[in-house]
């Protein structure tokens, strides 16, 4: 066993190098850059904590944080909720299981940008799908992406895109529940909705926890839907798009890096809080 250690390290090394080069190096470089005032690529000046001070007075960042939290709420309620509902339904049927699994999983495979472009044409005011339908009924056109609706309108494709992923996770978790639990429940006369709430959901609680953590961290990365559909206008700016605008469009990499660090800290705190709130004894079969 002891002689294996050498090989274990040898085989772990490539992955460790890969992670260091593409994850840890950029991360620490961001930390480093966040202490600089940068102008373009060729000019930077050390400014200490100024970028971090700016974080706390930046109204746009505050707004972006709130918008991100709002999308997070939709994602947890609808994305996880719909995925769970679909998984329960599909778990309970005996035929066409594979068919539904493929159908519900399919949107995950399509690129977010492609879906976003699709929704640009759905929501467009002048010749969008929705307004054409309304025109067909003789109803006046609606501005789908105005200030009161835009964030929710963008949340719809965001939620829809990843439902299938969580659905598959839930379905796999459900298939791992031993059938004798259900047989025992059947003898006790527990069926239907009661069975779902008393048996299935408690037994996959640990998976639900994982999914919620994934959903929270995933929401912090939302970018393409907002970028393509609204460009962050009309109250839809989220952390991802705001960071990109500051770093890439304005070429202020220092402040962009500071926002990135803020996002990491914010995400870790949220994930910890979520874990604490969902704390339960682990169930083993």
């Amino acid at each position: 066993m002891k002689g294996d250690r050498k090989y274990i390290f040898t085989f772990l090394l490539p992955a460790a190098v890969f992670m260091s080069v593409f994850l840890y190096y950029p991360f620490f470089k961001s930390v480093y850059l966040s202490f600089f005032r940068t102008t373009g690529f060729f000019d930077k000046k050390f400014i200490g904590w100024d970028n971090y001070k700016r974080l706390f007075t930046d109204e746009l960042l505050g707004a972006a944080t709130l918008h991100t939290l709002e999308i997070m709420l939709y994602v947890i309620v609808f994305q996880v909720g719909i995925a769970l509902l679909l998984a329960v339904l599909v778990d309970n049927i005996s035929k066409f299981k594979g068919f539904y699994r493929t159908v519900f999983f399919f949107p995950v495979v399509i690129s977010g940008t492609a879906i976003s472009l699709l929704f640009v044409l759905v929501y467009n005011y002048n010749f969008g799908l929705l307004n054409n339908l309304l025109a067909g009924f003789g109803i006046e056109k609606i501005l789908w992406l105005d200030e009161s609706n835009a964030l929710r309108a963008v949340a719809i494709p965001t939620v829809w895109h990843y439902v299938g992923f969580y659905f598959v996770l839930f379905l796999t978790a459900m298939s791992k529940i031993p059938s004798d639990y259900y047989e025992a429940a059947k003898l006790e006369g527990i069926t239907g909705v009661k069975k779902t709430f008393l048996l299935t959901i408690p037994l996959i609680m640990s998976d639900i926890k994982v999914v919620i953590t994934l959903a929270i961290t995933g929401t912090l990365k939302v970018f393409e839907f907002i970028w393509v559909i609204t460009k962050g206008q009309n109250g839809t700016e989220v952390l991802g798009t705001y960071m990109y605008k500051k770093a890439m469009v304005d070429q202020n990499f220092g402040y962009g890096s500071a926002i990135a660090i803020y996002m990491v800290v914010f995400g870790v705190i949220l994930a910890l809080v979520a874990n604490r709130l969902l704390k339960r004894d682990e169930i083993t079969y």
Binding site: G40, N124, Y125, L145, T230, M248, Q251
Partner: protein
């Protein structure tokens, strides 16, 4: 022993190839001037080492000159079979290509020839010495230098007085008007502010989008509003030395137009290409765009269009005949390539070829830009000819205001368009906000 001698032999072989390559390059340079193929030249060509060059430009995606540019490159390769050119392109529609260019220039991954902006945008890599001044090369090749219109070369100078970029085609921006829509509604061309207001009011009542512009990608709206309100001199000063109150009038003018219903209802969420689409489809009567946009419109709209300067904002310093334009882009020759003996001469040949009057004519025909050489561009739509006439008659031609302030300041100006027109911010607040960003950037 045997192995090391083999190594020595192969190194010597390699060296001799290099030497041969240099020799043949030098000998063929003068004979190329005439571009006539003779028996001796083809034999020297055959000996040449393959040269791989990377040319980065924005002639990709939906660019009107994409095919013409590829054609010019192909022509060069045909004449110089030992050269392989990688035509590396990225669309100029978004800001992503600036990031790519700057990353490439900063990380030692410079393209051999780079087609990029002249001015503030290029300052970073010019000051860092990543590209070579072309002054000497231009003087050494009078044929090449005389191909350009002198004013085009003058406009290509950086702040330090050197020319780093060889211009290809210039551009102008203006207020493009769909004459047919104006005639159908009994309107006059919006040559002054009152006429513009009348047109906006009437078109808006009829349900036609008067001026198809987006709020986020409002580059052209801001450029014209500020130029016509502040005048060319104040516009050129930017914001660094203080705020000219006339800048605010530009934002106030946008609000005035918005209140009359000038912009599309969904101006807040559409992008530039969608705004162009509305104009192209005849849903919009006017658009602020550049000469490059003409080729992208539907034939009907193109044939019905004309272009005029954006009217002067009342009380501002503009004359109503100031336009945005110039030779804002050109080919840069990277320092790394210039120092690489194997590539240097071929790259300069390619640079000369790409900016020869013949090539300039081809690109200008495709993208409707003003040629940097004295060539006649034929087969252009009437609107493009109107554009040339407008540029020729203009009182002043200024480069866009985004080249006068920092990137972040310009983003700030852009993001304040919507708050100002909807009344959430005053024009004064918007300009003050931009001034703060500008100051923070220059620290």
């Amino acid at each position: 022993m045997k192995r090391s001698s083999l190594l020595l032999v192969s190194i010597m072989l390699l060296f001799s190839m290099f030497l041969a390559a240099c020799g043949s390059n030098n000998s063929s340079t003068p004979s190329k001037e005439g571009e006539t193929s003779s028996g001796t030249e083809t034999s020297t060509e055959a000996k040449k080492d393959p040269v791989n060059l990377r040319v980065f430009s924005t002639f990709g995606g939906t660019d009107a000159a994409r095919e013409a540019f590829q054609g010019v490159l192909d022509e060069f390769v045909e004449k110089n079979p030992h050269v392989k050119i990688e035509n590396d392109t990225m669309s100029a529609n978004d800001d992503g290509f600036r990031t790519k260019v700057n990353t490439d220039m900063n990380t030692g991954n410079e393209p051999d020839l780079l087609f990029y902006f002249i001015g503030t945008d290029a300052e970073g890599f010019v000051n860092a010495g990543k590209v070579v001044p072309l002054n000497q090369i231009l003087d050494d090749n009078p044929d090449w230098k005389n191909g350009f219109i002198p004013s085009a070369l003058e406009l290509a100078r950086q702040k330090d007085g050197n020319i780093y970029a060889a211009p290809l085609t210039g551009f102008y921006e203006g207020l493009f008007v769909n004459k047919k829509i104006f005639e159908e509604n009994g309107l006059e061309l919006p040559t002054d502010w009152e006429k513009l207001k009348t047109a906006v009011t009437k078109l808006s009542e009829k349900g036609i989008i008067p001026l198809s512009v987006p709020f986020d990608q409002s580059h052209y709206l801001i450029e014209h509003a500020i130029l016509s309100a502040a005048g060319p001199e104040s516009q050129a000063k930017g914001l660094i030395d203080g705020v000219d109150p006339n800048w605010e009038k530009g934002y106030a003018a946008m609000k005035e137009l918005y209140d009359l219903g000038a912009f599309p209802k969904d101006a807040a969420t559409i992008d530039l290409s969608m705004a162009g689409n509305y104009y192209s489809e005849g849903l919009g009567a006017m658009i602020l765009e550049g000469s490059w946009a003409i080729g992208g419109w539907s034939e009907e709209t193109r044939n019905n269009s004309t272009v005029i300067p954006f009217p002067a904002v009342p009380g501002g310093a503009g004359s109503g005949n100031d336009i945005v334009g110039g030779f804002g882009t050109g080919f840069y020759l990277s320092k790394a390539t210039y120092d690489d003996a194997a590539k240097k001469d071929t790259t300069i040949e390619l640079l000369k070829f790409l900016t020869s009057p013949e090539s300039i004519q081809k690109i200008a025909t495709a993208n409707g830009g003003t040629p940097a050489a004295d060539v006649e561009v034929t087969g252009l739509a009437q609107v493009a000819l109107d554009g040339f006439a407008m540029a020729a008659k203009a009182d002043s031609i200024s480069s866009p205001v985004d080249s006068k302030v920092s990137q972040e300041t310009f983003s700030n100006l852009r993001s304040n368009v919507q708050p100002v027109v909807t009344g959430k911010k005053t024009p004064t607040e918007a300009i003050e906000d931009a001034k703060k960003t500008e100051d923070a950037n220059k620290n």
